[in-house]
């Protein structure tokens, strides 16, 4: 293709860093956009890209940036106009693109000043521009608009990054994209799941068992069950027959046992009766017994007489005991014994009453004896009182005498008391008269003389010494005597009571002694009566005992007779029972044999049934397991089938992935074949030093960790010193590598067919020396098809390179110096 389109002019407004209108004339061979970071150089290049394609490669390849981000923050819209000129025909193409924030961009295209595609769709316009340029946005960004990062990826990245960058430049990144997009992950996940499912089923199957083995075992079990069933049927038939026989015997058994019981009972009875008869017959003498009975009969008659039962006694004497009348005699004797017994009871009762009476009498006797003893003791006490009484009477007389003496004494005492009182008064008066010195008689009131007074005094003293004293002595004697009499009287009275009491006690003692004698007489009589009764009782008892013994002997005799009769009866019954037992035809031995046989048959039948049950259970379990094994086998087969299909599908995907990797290697090789020779042409022009003279890029296949074979680009440089090919990126300097990368990109630009004659370089080759820079510009200007170079750089040394190029080779160049302004870049022109 001609590569004839060059950029003549660009006008920018409201785009990225450029807010106000900026128009740059670019119609030069070399255009240098020089300025510091962020001064707007790259904005100009992006604006050209935007105008032509409505977006930028950065936006298209980035998920962060949007087209709206291209609109300047201080503008409502972005406006870019690019004017292109066909260097061969002179036709001018103008593309004007306007993008309002939030809206789609609008584009107008003018050809030689005339708008074309007016009203056409944006796709149609885009198609027109792509046809005009011969490049899509991706191709433009790869071949005409070279960014620093592409160069860096080529020279500094890992082999993978380098390969991806070269693929992108070749436009063959789709092969790696396809390889990565064809992901068997879901299939892998499902295959893993299916494998685990198959493993689980296999595990279950191992637990259940192998189907064929189960089937074989099931058949064996069923065969054994059939055989056992037949055996059981035979066994049950025999068992039924034996059980019938046994049942018949068992029906006879109760009667047999009853007869056996009877037999045993009769035999026992007979044995016991015989023993009893032997006991009864021991010492039995009938005539002696009759003689003894007659003797006892008479004795009993005497006893009845003594018991005042004369009538019955007479009967006994009359009725003699004989062998023929033995029973009647025994009855008679028993009646007599009953009478004796009744009388014995009466006598015993009488004896009991007498005993009670005797005890009462003895108690009374003892009480009387006690009273007599107490009375005698009291009488002995009272005898002293009687003696004292008689002494007092002999001394003081009777009580009347004492009382009379007392009355006389009392009379005299009263008299003496008056005399003593008189004498005492006289004496008192006399003494008072003397004491007071009275001159008059206190009685007759006559005048007393001193002699009188003296005489009175003497008289008084005489009285006091004689009469008064005599009176007082007599008085005291009389009083003492009176006291003595009073005491004697009192004592006499008391003693008289004791004497009286003694008389009463003596009378009572006499009465007690009389009663005691009467009681003792009665006790004697009672004891005699009791002795008599006891004697008769003893006699009756002895007689009764002997009679009873005799009667018992009679009874024993009778019982012996009766026992012998019983023995005969039971022997007859025993014979009957023996006869019936023989007729019954019950054989216990046969029954035992049958029971043993039936038990054995039952046990065997039980064992067979149990074994059949076991076999049935085993058969059921085997059938269940077999069904389960068959189901699991079927399920496993289905899972394996599915797994196989999935694995086949996965294998297909793996193979197709590998196919694309293989294709990638071939396409890479094909693309390199087109570019490498051109790259070497460029390299030799740009790289002015002698150490390396050629480059080569080879496709080398390596085995990746994911198991796929993949190819990588390896760049080699031919070292002139030894003629060897060395890995360029490991041996060359940064600058050499930058030149290598630029050579590759230039070769790509040259080998790819398109209509664009402009190469735009954004910060290319930062580390190369001036000689290489100059060579690069020279080379670019000489590359066939490159009609225009636009370089955005911070490096001012490019100015010198351009100036020299202009001076030496007549290149037309311009330098726009960018700097930071308040609302956007400030641009100065340096032509």
């Amino acid at each position: 293709m001609p590569m004839n389109l060059v950029i003549e002019e660009v006008e920018i407004e409201g785009f990225r860093y450029v807010s106000s209108k900026l128009r740059l004339k670019l119609d030069y061979d070399v255009v240098l956009l020089l300025g510091p970071v962020g001064s707007g150089k790259s904005t100009v290049l992006s604006a050209i890209e935007f105008a032509l394609f409505g977006t930028t490669y950065d936006i298209k390849s980035s998920r962060v940036l949007r087209v709206d981000d291209l609109v300047n923050d201080f503008s409502d819209y972005a406006y870019v106009r690019v004017r292109l000129r066909d260097a061969d025909t002179g036709d001018v193409y103008e593309v004007i693109r306007r993008k309002e924030r939030g809206k789609a961009s609008r584009v107008r295209v003018y050809v030689n000043g005339k708008q074309v595609l007016k009203g056409a769709s944006s796709e149609a316009v885009a198609s027109f521009i792509e046809s005009l340029l011969g490049l899509t946005l991706e191709d433009f960004s790869r071949q005409a608009y070279i960014r620093a990062r592409e160069l860096e990826a080529l020279t500094y990245g890992t082999p993978s990054q380098r390969s991806e960058a070269i693929d992108r430049l070749f436009g063959i990144e789709m092969l790696e994209d396809i390889f990565r997009s064809v992901s068997p992950t879901r299939l892998d996940d499902h295959i893993l799941f299916m494998r685990s499912q198959a493993a689980a089923i296999e595990e279950q199957l191992r637990g259940v068992g192998d189907a064929s083995a189960l089937r074989e075992r099931l058949a064996h079990v069923e065969e054994e069950a059939k055989r056992l069933k037949a055996e059981l049927a035979e066994l049950e038939a025999e068992l039924a027959e034996r059980e019938g026989e046994l049942k018949e015997l068992e029906s006879l058994e109760p009667e047999y046992r009853r007869l056996l019981g009877l037999k045993a009972g009769y035999e026992t009875i007979i044995r016991e009766l015989r023993a009893e008869a032997a006991t009864l017959s021991r010492g039995l003498d009938l005539s002696a017994l009759i003689s003894r009975l007659n003797s006892l009969r008479l004795r009993l008659a005497d006893l009845l007489v003594s018991l005042l039962e004369h009538g019955e006694a007479e009967t006994l004497r009359r009725e003699e005991v004989t062998e023929g009348s033995l029973a009647q005699s025994v009855e008679m004797l028993e009646a007599a014994v009953a009478t004796v017994s009744r009388r014995r009871r009466e006598l015993s009762e009488e004896l009991s009453q007498l005993t009670d009476r005797l005890a009462q009498l003895r108690a009374r006797r003892d009480a009387i004896l006690s009273e007599v003893s107490a009375t005698l003791r009291r009488l002995r006490e009272l005898e002293g009182s009687e003696r004292e009484y008689r002494d007092l009477v002999s001394r003081y007389g009777e009580e009347a005498d004492i009382q009379r003496g007392l009355r006389e004494l009392e009379s005299r005492v009263a008299e003496l008391a008056g005399l003593i009182e008189y004498e005492r008064a006289v004496l008192s008066v006399a003494r008072e008269v003397v004491r007071r010195g009275e001159r008059r008689c206190p009685v007759c009131r006559r005048e007393l003389s001193s002699e009188d007074i003296l005489r009175v005094k003497r008289a008084a003293e005489e009285v006091a010494e004689s009469e008064y004293a005599a009176y007082l002595r007599e008085y005291d004697d009389l009083r003492e005597r009176r006291e003595d009499l009073l005491q004697a009287l009192d004592r006499l009275r008391r003693l008289r009571e004791d004497v009286s009491l003694k008389r009463g006690l003596e009378i009572e003692l006499g009465r007690l002694r009389a009663e005691l004698k009467a009681i003792e007489d009665e006790i004697y009589e009672t004891e005699a009566m009791m002795d008599d009764i006891r004697l008769r009782l003893d006699e009756a008892e002895g007689a009764v005992k002997e009679i009873e013994d005799a009667i018992k002997a009679v009874r024993d005799y009778e019982e012996y007779i009766s026992t012998m009769g019983s023995i005969k009866r039971y022997e007859s019954k025993l014979r009957d029972v023996m006869l019936k037992l023989r007729e019954l035809k019950y054989d216990p031995e046969r029954k035992r044999e049958l029971e043993s046989l039936v038990a054995g048959l039952r046990e065997r039948a039980f064992s067979l049934r149990r074994r059949l049950d076991e076999l049935r259970r085993e058969r059921d379990e085997l059938a269940h397991r077999l069904a389960r094994a068959e189901a699991l086998t079927k399920e496993l087969s289905e899972v394996r089938d599915r797994l196989k299909r999935l694995e086949q599908a996965r294998e297909r995907l793996v193979r197709v992935k590998q196919l694309f990797r293989d294709l990638q290697a071939k396409v890479r090789a094909e693309m390199l074949r087109r570019v490498v020779s051109r790259m070497n042409e460029v390299f030799r022009q740009v790289y002015v030093h002698p150490d390396y003279d050629r480059l080569d890029i080879r496709v080398e296949v390596v085995r990746a960790r994911d198991g796929y074979a993949r190819s990588v680009y390896e760049i080699y440089a031919h070292r002139t010193s030894d003629g060897s090919w060395v890995p360029a990126l490991r041996r060359m300097s940064d600058g050499q590598r930058a030149i290598l990368a630029l050579s590759f990109l230039a070769a790509l630009f040259m080998t790819t067919p398109h209509n664009v004659g402009t190469m735009m370089l954004d910060e290319p080759l930062p580390n190369i020396d001036e000689a290489c820079k100059e060579a690069m510009v020279r080379m670019l200007s000489r590359i066939s098809g490159v009609r225009q170079i636009v370089i955005a750089t911070q490096d001012p040394r490019f100015v010198k390179v351009i100036e020299e190029g202009a001076r030496e080779r007549g290149l037309k160049g311009i330098v726009y110096e960018f700097s930071h302004g308040p609302l956007g870049p400030v641009v100065k022109v340096k032509e």
Binding site: E138, G171, R186, E638, R645, A649
Partner: protein, 68 residues
């Protein structure tokens, strides 16, 4: 023709040449077409479709003793 379409054509031709297995060749071409039409997403959708078909086929009774 753009560079990309040229590349696509080159790859298609190489697939025809390199893939001997017709099934593999067909799948590779389908994938390429899907990529041309829808990029990576197109390929992913195709692979998913292939997966779904495989799953559907796998869950259907097979020729070798599927469910009655």
């Amino acid at each position: 023709m753009s560079a990309r379409s040229g590349i696509t054509e080159l790859i298609r031709r190489l697939i025809e040449e390199e893939a001997e297995d017709p099934e593999l060749r067909e799948l590779a071409l389908e994938i390429l077409e899907a990529y041309v039409r829808g990029g990576r997403r197109g390929v992913s959708e195709l692979v998913n479709r292939v997966f779904e078909e495989v799953m559907r086929d796998a869950n259907e009774p097979g020729d070798r003793g599927g469910r009655d």
